[in-house]
Structures are given as C-alpha cells and as structure tokens.
Symmetry: C2
Subunit: 348 residues, 2 copies
DNA sequence: CATCGATGTGGCAGCGCTGCCAATCCGGAT
DNA sequence: ATCCGGATTGGCAGCGCTGCCACATCGATG
C-alpha cells in the first residue's frame, strides 16, 4: 500500500508531496501573496471589522491559491476566549451518553463552538484527571455528567473560573448550570406505577450503584415510594458489571431463582430490561401476566419490542443541547429541570 | 439556585471567588513564586531535561500553592507538534461509532494524546467542513471513517501533511494508514452461509446505501455471492432513514407483504435485524423455520436474544485502538485487515 | 592548579495569530 | 481649495509557553 499504484490518486500525488515537509502556510504568507497587511487578512477571514469588497476578493484568492488553513491554536492564544467546550461523560458504551453528545455537539456547532470529549469510566479520580486535562485547553465551558464529584474535581472546576454545566440530574446542589431531570422522582414514579397496577412482589435488577450515582438515586426513590405504598422490595439483584443486556438477562435469571414468586421486575435501565425481556421470552414466562417489566430511559428499542417496554423517557438529547446553548450564551447559574415522561408500554 | 444556600459548598465559595475575574496564573507566576527561571518550571512540569530534586520540590510546591494549570494552547503553539488526534465519524446514533471511539480514546490516552471528535451525519460535504475545522487545530493525526471522501476532503487531507487513518473498510485505495476489514467479503460470506444452509428465497432489508458506502459494499458482495451460488435476491426493501430497530421492523414487514414466500432475510446490520426479529416475534413467524435472519456487526444484543442472532462480528474497538496506536507511533503507510468472524447463531 | 565534561539553570526569541492604535484614504460639506 | 468624519488599512506588541544557547557550578582529571 505504501507504494500505492492505484491510478485514481496519481493526480493527488503531487499535492501530497507539496504538503509534506514544506513549512506550513501562515497568515503572513497569505498577506504577502495578497499584498495586504496581516491584520487585513485576519479581519477578512473572520468577517470582523471593515474591509472593502476588492480586498476580500484578493485575500480569498490568495487563501485558495496557497491552500491556507488558519491555525486556531495561535488564534485562540492571541484572542482572549476560546471557542471550545469540554464534555466529560462516564461511558461510551451506554447509548445515553452518545445521545447527550449528539445534542451538545449539534447545538455547539450552531454556535460556532467545537467540543473536546473525555471519558471517565465512572471513576471519580479519573474524572478529576480529565477535568484537569480539559481545563488546560482553556475551554469556554465544561459539560460534566451528574452532580457528584470528588473534592479535587470541584475545587478545580471552581478555581478555573470557567462555566460548568452538570447534566442528567437535578437531585442535589449544583456548581453553576444544572440541566436534567430528577432521577429520584423517576424511581418514585416507577414504583407508584407498578404498585398502582397491583403488583406486590416487586424485585429490582441493577448494576453497580456505587459508581452510577443516578441509578442509585432512582433505586432510592423506588424503594421509598414502594415503602410509602406499604410495600417492600421482594428481592434484588445487583451485578457488579456496568449495565448491559447481558447483565439484565442474567440478573433476572438469578433473582428469579432466589425469589420465584416475583410478579414484577424494575430494572436500572432499558438495556437491563431488554435482557430481562429476552430471559422471559426464552423461558416462556408471559409478560406481564407472569412477570411485569419496567425499565428506564425510553430507548427506541424498547418501543419496538413485540410488547412495548414500560419505561421512563428521558430527554437526553435536549439536555445536551440545552446545556450547550446555556454555556455558549453565558447567562446566570440556573437549574433547568426538563422532566421525564412515563411510558406505560405493555410490559407492566 | 444562583443564590446557592446549600451549606455543603460554603467552604468552596471562597475558592470560587478566587477563580472568577482574577487573571489566570501563568508559568511566569509559578517561576516567581518558586524563585526559579521559567524554563526550569517548564522542564520540571514536563519532566524533560535536568533539574535537581530540590528544585522539583520547590516548583511543585509553588504549583500547588497557586493552583496553576498549564496552558496547553500556548504549549502547543510554542512546541512543534501537537498531541491531538482528530476523529471524524459519520454518526453517534449507531453504536459502532462509539465503539470505535472507545478503542481509539483508550489507546490515545495511553500514549498521552487527546482526541477531538467531529460528526458528519454521513454527509461528504460536511465531512470536508469538519476535516478543515479539525486541521485548523494542527493535530498530529486524523482518524476518518471509510475510504470514500469527496475530492475536497482528499485534497485537504493530503495537503495538510498530517497522518491519516481510514477506518472500518479495506475495500479500496487508502490515503495513508487503513485499518478495518472487508465489507464486501462480509457480504459474500453472509450470502454463502445462507445459500449453504439451503435458503432460496432470500430478501434484503437495508437503509440508505448512497450515504453508507460500507453497507453498499456489503450489499454488493452479498448479491454477487448469491449470483455465484446460482441465486438471486427474491426481493429487497430499502428505507430512506438511517439504520435503526424501527427501520428493520417496518422494512421486514413491508418486504414480507410484497414477497410473502421469503425464507431468509439479510439485514444491513444488527439493529435492523433486531427489528426484524421483533416483527417475527410479534407476528408469530418462527425463526428460522419460517424465516431466517442474518445481521451484521455482532452486537451484544444479538448474542443475548432468545435465539442468538446469526451475524458477522467486526472488531470495531480494536480498529479504533490499532489506528490510534499507528498514528501515535508514526510508522509507514499500511493496510491492516483485522478480518471478521461469522457467528452462526440460531436465527439462520 | 588549570582544564574538563556533566549537570543545573536562566534569558530570550520566537510559535501564528489577534487587538489596539495610528495612519491613510475618500466623498461630501464648507 | 480645505476640512471633517467614517471607512479602510498596516504596524506591532503581546498571548503563555518551549527550545536553544549561554552561563554557572562542581567534582574529577591531567
């Protein structure tokens, strides 16, 4: 391959050589080529300040001729504020975070901002490290997930002076901007729904709650609301791994072996619930007759199951977009509760 | 919220004030505080060059006292190469791309690089724009998806002189580094598998092939191999939307209405196939007795269905990691074919 | 006792761009 | 012809850091 030899690229080969090794084109080169001053080129390229139509044409021609690409590193250093937003998410495996990213990057793009993404693997120490790393790019703002951070992270965030948006949770004090919904209330609503439907032997299948604080809040809300309805959890199964279809399937299987007379299962999210549904299908357990299932997140896949999954739809994409816009426009610190929607489905 | 009032943060409040409005701490401040030269601070912070243990301690104490965060914008501008890799993916909706990101960011982190991500929505013009945008950060390398780019993108990539890795496809000429597997061969293998199992009335359910070139290659390989086996597609249904569970479910429904005697369905990927499976479950079509199903990608969810999905497992995470490592270490242009694995499953 | 290399250390010129300010130009008003 | 104010333009000092070079310092060596 290094030899190439595919004729389709013969024409480009020359361009390639041009690019490699040669000193990169700078704004000064463009200025010389267009026979104008550097500041004029800068003004034209940013459409900022005033310049004549003729000058614009000259500069643009020179840019095209030289193939100039502005150096944003230099631009950002010279100007005061960067047009960068750092985004910190715990995982890329769970589709909710790509959803959040999708909303945020779309909004950011509109505002002319770029995003840098970092992943923490649900580890608070790693979060501290990546926050430090992102701050060293002097971003205009930072989007982080959840309200729980270790003290080092909080200190860095506050000391940096950059705007911070905390996402997907409103159950607790925030540092600056908070956009999300109440996980606790979602858990409560789920419990009330199941209790209201007459289920009495309700089990919980979840993943690692020490790492996923939002899942822990749903769990707490669920238990409390169950208690308020005069019920208690008939059993629970927590897998040590992150949430997954597999964890849901095996978790339900394990729990049923221990508590056979369960009549409903509350899962820490839709992935887990889908796994549970697969278990029921594979073992001929009728849903919701023999066992009701309830999830969380409102993923598309749940809606399309033969029986739509009972779950709670969360506005993840909107949360990302809202946070991004708030950071870009820079208003005061606020809490935006986007709420959630209970989807009755057909599995509970 | 802007008033705060939650006691948990009272201690930090002061730190917050410190951060806001105050001129950011620079390396020169640290040097003054530690009573050493700027270059000494720089050397200590990068553990580069020589300095005494005493000096290191002095500098580190000063850094801690002032809460100094190095400015990488300035650092990158001053030094020659950046430690940034740009990653261009078509979508965040399809889990394969977060998988790719996961592999890449993990490997990048190990090598001490940071990534900047951009999304094209499967649009070649948008790809050209985001490539330009990423190049303006003067990255050490770029990871892009697929081998098909418009001429503007190719020109920019070549002219920039940065290393480029093209991912998830090896069916065609690459620009520099290519890491992936043959989509064409995957399509062929799928067709041979279905034909070998005795299916004769085989249909295709896919999404927009003009945008997703790799899906188009699988489709072409599938048709060709079917032809070589003396068969032809009994029918096909292409939805205009991106691939999704919903598109698969409705696509299969539509196709079956038109071609009722289908005995196998080949889907453009596992999401689509899962949708098809849901359709079969909902309508009591036995799988694979009445209808066989075949997917692509080897997602976890397919493995966990009551009957494991017949599909092709692709090494997406490894592709991301391999590409990242090759870019960081900077070897010669190569093509790395990671291959794929046919999962027989139980649906075909 | 001069000389030497190894080790620490500081000074300072850029990296490529933006922001400020001063200079210049132009058309119309005086 | 002269003057004025706005539009247009160029010069240049940084932004905060790194890389290079020069300058100690010091024990070991001839």
């Amino acid at each position: 391959m290094d030899e190439g030899g595919n004729e389709a690229f013969a024409a480009d080969e020359e361009t390639l050589r041009e690019g490699i090794g040669r000193r990169p084109i700078t704004l000064a080169d463009v200025a010389r080529e267009a026979r104008v001053g550097e500041s004029t080129v800068s003004r034209v390229l940013r459409s900022h300040g005033s310049f004549s139509e003729k000058t614009r044409a000259r500069v643009e021609a020179a840019v095209a001729r030289l193939g100039y690409v502005p150096n944003r590193i230099a631009g950002t250093l010279a100007s005061t504020g960067s047009r960068l937003i750092g985004i910190v998410i715990p995982s890329l495996t769970n589709i909710v975070f790509p959803d959040l990213l999708r909303g945020a990057t779309a909004a950011l793009e509109q505002e002319g901002f770029q995003s840098v993404i970092a992943v923490t693997d649900y580890d608070q120490d790693k979060e501290e490290a990546v926050v430090g790393s992102l701050l060293s790019w002097r971003p205009a703002g930072l989007i982080v997930t959840g309200l729980e951070h270790n003290s080092g992270t909080r200190r860095r965030l506050l000391a940096s002076g950059v705007r911070v948006a905390e996402l997907l949770d409103v159950d607790g004090p925030g540092l600056d901007i908070v956009v999300g919904y109440s996980n606790r209330a979602a858990g409560e609503a789920s419990a009330r729904h199941l209790a209201g439907r007459g289920y009495r032997r309700i089990g919980y299948i979840g993943h690692d709650l020490t790492k996923d604080k939002r899942a822990a809040k749903r769990y707490a809300g669920f238990r409390d609301a169950l208690g308020a309805a005069g019920l208690a959890l008939a059993g629970e199964e927590r897998v040590a791994s992150p949430s997954s279809v597999e964890a849901g399937r095996h978790g339900l299987e394990t729990l049923l072996a221990r508590v056979p007379d369960l009549d409903a299962a509350y899962f820490s999210n839709d992935d887990m619930a889908l796994g549970g549904y697969f278990h029921c299908l594979a073992h001929g357990l009728s849903v919701p007759g023999r066992l009701a299932l309830f999830g969380y997140n409102g993923l598309d896949v749940g809606r399309l199951m033969p029986q739509p999954l009972a779950t709670i739809r969360t506005p993840r994409v909107e949360a990302g977009a809202t946070a991004a816009r708030l950071l870009c426009t820079g208003g005061p610190a606020t809490v935006v509760d986007l709420g959630f929607e209970l989807i009755e489905g057909a599995t509970a």
